[in-house]
């Protein structure tokens, strides 16, 4: 029961940290562009403002439009709750293994795309179409990459995957490197960052995620934005905790958790800097260059899996 209680606390921590990561990335990006930038608390203020504001809706919208923000938010949150953030002693990781996490993210995406099509505007449909297109190419790469990890650890449970990493002496597996590279590319595509999508654009013809939530306002928009921030944190946590798990607590003890928290913040901050730098130096690519980008991810993931089943299993 204590473990479930901790899982609840950790999932709340996800909610609390998600806007901070986005604020941090914005801040670093602003500094890199010689601007002062908004304070890193700005995303919290935005969310607060949006929750307080009145929601407006097109009269062509159906009930699904109103339900979708809740479903998207809850599904993303549940997926995040199953990824170890501070401790690997996590019953939610057993409840939802990595395939279920992919499924929950799929559920969120399904409703996000439907919500985009609901009002019946051209932009919404365009965003939905592009989102499904990008995710169709990203999903196999993502599953292949996590399968490489799962096959190595003989478990699809992410907590076990992380523990397996901690147990063995840290030696470099070629399959892990490939999987890491693939997962980074997938994460960029799935969270809608440059060069696949630009989260700060409202230029009609290039937007993907923003096009789908264009019609939202008030609390609905707040939930959608928060879900997107959660998704970024979710992928960041997946990357840092699976590939650099050192420091994560293996049981729920206050000293270990404190240590884990400090290390996690450092790791996430560094990852945020890396993301800000890459977004500053890269330009957004054309939509039809995205398949090449994601095929590279799939290729890397398959190479990782192949090198695992051929090189590493037998020996």
């Amino acid at each position: 029961m204590a473990a479930w209680g901790f899982a609840l606390i950790q999932s709340l921590l996800y909610l609390a940290l998600a806007p901070l990561l986005v604020g941090w990335v914005h801040k670093v990006k602003a500094r890199l562009q010689n601007r002062r930038g908004a304070p890193i608390w700005q995303p919290y203020r935005d969310l607060y403002k949006l929750f307080a504001k009145e929601a407006r809706m097109a009269h062509t919208a159906s009930l699904l439009f109103r339900a979708a923000p809740y479903i998207v938010f809850v599904a993303t949150w549940l997926a995040a709750a199953a990824i170890p953030l501070l401790s690997t002693d996590l019953p939610t990781a057993a409840m939802a293994d990595v395939i279920v996490i992919a499924g929950l993210l799929g559920l969120a995406r399904f409703f996000l795309a439907l919500a985009g099509m609901d009002v019946g505007t051209a932009f919404g449909g365009m965003g939905a179409s592009r989102e499904m297109f990008v995710s169709a190419l990203a999903e196999p790469a993502m599953l292949m990459a996590v399968f490489t990890l799962a096959m190595t650890a003989h478990s699809t449970n992410l907590a076990s995957v992380v523990e397996y990493q901690l147990l063995g002496e840290p030696f470099l597996r070629p399959s892990y490197l490939f999987a890491l590279a693939a997962l980074v590319l997938v994460a960029i595509a799935e969270t809608g960052r440059i060069p696949v999508d630009n989260p700060s654009t409202h230029l009609e013809l290039t937007m993907i995620h923003e096009a789908m939530i264009l019609e939202y306002s008030g609390r609905h928009l707040a939930l959608m934005e928060w879900a997107a921030q959660l998704k970024l944190l979710l992928y960041a946590a997946l990357l840092v905790n699976v590939f650099l798990p050192w420091g994560i607590a293996q049981s729920i003890r206050p000293d270990m958790l404190g240590m884990a928290f400090v290390l996690l913040v450092v790791k996430l901050a560094l990852l945020g800097v890396a993301l800000a730098v890459s977004e500053t130096v890269l330009a957004k690519m054309r939509l039809f260059r995205v398949p090449a980008f994601l095929n590279l991810a799939l290729l890397l993931a398959l190479l990782g899996l192949m090198s695992h089943v051929i090189l590493e299993v037998g020996s």
């Binding site: 395939i99 609901d118 009002v119 051209a122 179409s129 995710s135 190419l137 599953l143 292949m144 089943v309």
Partner: protein, 666 residues
């Protein structure tokens, strides 16, 4: 309760369906009141029979007072038959509830409702007889009964030439497939020394002959199941039939083909080889990926659903291929795992494809429209159908917490055990198949976002759709039952896998003993450490969090203000400014373009207006069917040369044939 009871119930179900066929020819008042209830009852009894067989296990046999003097028809009930009988039963039950409302729309039309009812009953009886048959003779008779009666159902709207052509194509392909199955049975019968399945099981087969029998069966059953490249008839034939029949054909008849394959390969041949597993895996993955891409390109809702059946049968055969591969390589536990995944997907596909076809039928019933590009906004006009269709779409897109996800999860878990195989080639084939399965899953999600977004959301694109009315309660109830089962099988997988376990226990010698070892909350197919999925918990947390979220965020009297769509501040959008289905799939069409035969461009119409046209054709026509058709025509022309018109030449040919036959026989 015993297995004999199951057999008796099954015989009763067959009797009821035949009776329903007979009653259909009575005067209209009796037909309307009695025929469909009998059909529904038959489905219910079949479901009961199947469940009794699954719970009890064991085997019961009986002889029917029919058949040839030296070969009376044998029926046999075991868990495999019981499993497929319950699939047949549950979908028929829902269809039976749905059908009266739907068929009323045809009342007073040109096509005879007697014929429809009569062949529907015969069709159901045929399918049930196939899964009960215990000798090749009865199997083939029942198989033909199923094929022929469904031919008449496909040809029911026979006044359009396209429908007649589709029906003929269906008949032709069904018979080529039937011939292949017959030859396959022939191989087994000649080695086993008899036409009963009992004799065939004991047939001593060399690898070569076993492979010949396997290939024949794979072609025959694969053709019925619509596997690529033999699938092209399926999207022609299934959509043409009335929608409740489409639901039966796609949801149930394809499963009967899967039954035939399992019975033939896993039971009758018995010893399997890894090469077969690889062949099935390749064909299965091709079907999955090509099926879903073609489904994505369709704008006719029922055709789209039919192509998606090709994809789902591909997924089922991927599971069976994995089972064959692991079984041949000496890993029975993992083989069981893949086998259970395939069986679970059989039920799932029957449920959600039945549901989706019934939904398509409801749209057809109230708006008389099959073209997605003319739909839109139906969720507001038909809220219940819209809700059930959404459940079907989520289920088929393999998203938690619905049923499609469970079988996808099981398939992935089975594929993840590939490291236990010997040899790098086999070990790497399985992950590649898994990546294709992942791609398929994502494309299915895109397909059903398109279908649901274009048909049910947005604004109506045509007058009839704008005025669509709700369908009668009975039609909604039929869909509701299937939708509820989709959720139930997604939330409580442990119960159902425990039930299905009887099948591999009998066919492969063991079941998945660990599935519910940690309680009904946890689905743990191999062990808790390897993989677990707490489906009820996921569903419960999703539900609770949703309710909490709605209460916390949306509480109070904070109403939503309505206005025009924002749309970046342009003029309020009109229905024709919405994204169309064709536009939705354009990016995917562009990158997978090589797989289709695409012709598009802008043409000038007679009134001087310009119009964009686009045609996406299945490459199977050009690559496989057209050459075969040309070859058949060419060889028939060669035969025509015999027809000289002179009686002396004909007599000469007759004499030559006679001599040849005498030489052959004596």
């Amino acid at each position: 309760m015993s297995i004999t009871l199951a057999l008796q119930l099954a015989e009763g179900a067959i009797g009821l369906s035949l009776l329903s066929a007979l009653v259909s020819f009575f005067p209209a008042t009796i037909r309307r009141r009695v025929a469909m209830p009998l059909f529904t009852l038959s489905g219910l009894v079949a479901l009961a029979a199947g469940l009794v067989a699954l719970i009890n296990g064991g085997v019961a046999t009986a002889q029917l007072p029919l058949g040839l003097p030296w070969l009376p028809w044998q029926v046999r009930m075991d868990v495999l038959s019981g499993f497929f009988l319950s699939i047949i039963g549950v979908v028929s039950f829902a269809v039976g509830i749905y059908a009266p409302g739907y068929v009323r729309g045809f009342e007073g039309g040109k096509d005879s409702l007697r014929v429809l009812g009569g062949f529907t009953g015969l069709f159901l009886a045929g399918m049930m007889l196939v899964v009960l048959a215990d000798d090749a003779f009865m199997f083939m008779v029942a198989w033909e009964l199923m094929s022929l009666s469904s031919y008449f159902l496909v040809a029911w709207h026979h006044d359009s030439a396209a429908n007649r052509r589709a029906a003929f194509l269906y008949l032709l392909m069904a018979h080529i497939g039937g011939l292949s199955i017959l030859l396959g049975f022939g191989v087994l019968a000649s080695f086993g020394g008899g036409f009963t399945f009992e004799a065939m099981r004991g047939a001593p087969l060399s690898f070569g002959w076993a492979s010949v029998a396997f290939v024949l069966a794979f072609i025959g059953f694969g053709m019925k199941a619509g596997l690529v490249p033999l699938h092209a008839w399926l999207p022609e034939a299934h959509p043409v039939a009335p929608s409740h029949i489409s639901a039966l054909m796609s949801g149930v008849m394809l499963k009967v083909a899967v039954y035939g394959f399992i019975r033939f390969v896993f039971d009758l041949i018995g010893t399997v080889h890894w090469q077969w597993g690889v062949a099935v895996l390749i064909v299965g993955s091709l079907s999955a990926i090509i099926g879903v891409l073609l489904a994505l390109m369709q704008n006719d809702l029922k055709r789209l659903l039919a192509y998606s059946s090709v994809e789902n049968l591909g997924i089922i055969f991927i599971g069976l291929g994995l089972a064959l591969l692991f079984l041949a390589e000496g890993h029975p536990l993992i083989a069981t795992f893949a086998f259970v995944a395939a069986l679970y997907h059989c039920i799932n596909h029957a449920l959600f494809k039945g549901l989706l076809f019934l939904g398509a039928g409801a749209i057809l019933h109230s708006a008389n429209e099959r073209d997605l590009e003319k739909m839109g906004g139906l969720l507001r006009r038909m809220p219940w159908t819209g809700f059930f269709f959404l459940v079907g779409s989520i289920s088929i897109a393999a998203l938690p917490p619905f049923n499609g996800f469970v079988s996808e999860w099981l398939s992935f878990q089975a594929a993840l055990q590939a490291w236990q195989l010997e040899g790098g080639v086999l070990r790497s084939i399985v992950p590649i198949v898994a990546s294709l399965l992942a791609l398929t899953g994502a494309l299915v999600a895109a397909t059903f976002v398109k279908v649901y977004g274009v048909a049910f959301l947005g604004q109506a694109r045509s007058r009839a759709v704008r005025r669509a009315r709700r369908v009668p309660l009975s039609m909604r109830a039929g869909q509701g039952i299937l939708a509820f089962l989709c959720l139930l099988l997604g939330v409580l997988p442990t119960f159902f896998i425990d039930l299905i376990n009887a099948v591999p226990r009998e066919m492969l010698g063991q079941g998945l003993s660990q599935v519910s070892a940690h309680g009904w909350l946890w689905l743990t197919p191999i062990s808790q450490q390897t993989a677990s999925y707490g489906a009820p918990l996921v569903a419960m947390i999703l539900f609770v969090a949703l309710v909490l979220g709605l209460w916390l965020v949306g509480r109070g009297a904070r109403r939503v203000r309505l206005g025009d769509a924002w749309d970046c501040g342009y003029a309020p959008p009109t229905p024709s400014m919405q994204y169309t289905g064709t536009a939705f799939v354009q990016p995917i069409r562009r990158i997978f373009g090589l797989l289709f035969q695409i012709s598009d461009g802008v043409e000038t119409q007679q009134d001087g207006r310009r119009r964009y046209y686009l045609q996406v054709v299945d490459r199977a026509w050009g690559l496989l069917y057209a050459p075969i058709a040309r070859w058949v025509e060419w060889s028939s022309r060669q035969v025509v040369r015999l027809q000289s018109g002179s009686i002396r030449t004909y007599l000469g040919w007759t004499l030559a044939t006679l001599l040849l036959l005498l030489w052959l026989v004596v």
